[in-house]
Symmetry: C2
Subunit: 137 residues, 2 copies
DNA sequence: CCATCAGGTTTCTAATGGAAACCAGGTGTG
DNA sequence: CACACCTGGTTTCCATTAGAAACCTGATGG
């Protein structure tokens, strides 16, 4: 578990776009986080990890997502090769989304995060209570 | 790697706040993502994983973060028990942040994500190029 | 002729993020 | 004495983004 590579300067072909600080801004971790570092991407990937699903099913099951963000996030995930989009020309049209092998790899990395959440979010909640008490002195 | 628990209804003590859909909105994964599902939290945790660091050092090394987001994100991480904040009454005052054992646990779960990013972001970039070509037909 | 379906897109508004200015309060400098 | 400078923030203002709700498309059934 090599911590030193956390912000490593790989992928030099990516243009720097801002004053010559190539190092941190373009490391792969930053690229990943800029792309799927939002909750909807992660939740959708998790949902599709359980099996392929249609647009409306995702909308129902991912509680609180707006239709706009659902469409937008799915498009990004598809562009990144993490999911596929299949249009069946029924009437009305039915569109099915499924996770790709690449997406499943990412999901299995995410699984450690999910497992941590399930076992340790209780401790986080406790820490919050303690903090709020300390601050309310 | 139990995928079925991805959105499990644990922590029923959390109030539902919206129309009775307790299931998805309050599962621990959602709670985690609502809290540290942004790139700055993850990047700061990664930085502090390399050793304790002062405010200004973090500002320099986490490229692109604004002073506001740095202060804000650090406060949230501290509240959640993932980092500590130590004020040394020198002059000018010096404030040091360090990761906690709980934070380090989370970071080691995140390490899988980081490793995935470093080995597979190339594939993601390729997928993007392919997608953009398909769409520009 | 109208409503209905899925799967979106558009529009408008509320919340969020970033840039830059400001602040506190103790120190050194002319 | 007046002033500038240090760290570690907070405040202000503006641009971007997310969310809610309305609209769109095109075939189909009543």
């Amino acid at each position: 578990m090599q911590e030193s590579t956390f912000l490593s300067p790989a992928y030099p072909h990516v243009t720097t776009s801002k004053r010559g600080d190539v190092f941190a801004r373009n490391c792969p971790t930053r690229q990943l986080l800029d792309r799927v570092g939002d909750k909807w991407s992660i939740l959708l990937l998790g949902m599709l990890g359980e099996g392929e699903m249609r647009f409306s099913a995702l909308k129902r099951r991912v509680d609180g997502i707006s239709q706009k963000m659902l469409a937008q996030t799915l498009r990004t995930l598809e562009r990144d090769g993490l999911i596929t989009r299949h249009v069946e020309p029924t009437v009305p049209v039915s569109v099915t989304y499924a996770i790709t092998p690449l997406g499943r790899e990412l999901l299995s990395a995410l699984q450690w995060l999910i497992d941590w959440a399930e076992t340790r979010m209780g401790a986080v909640a406790q820490a919050q209570v303690a903090y709020d008490l300390r601050m309310a002195d």
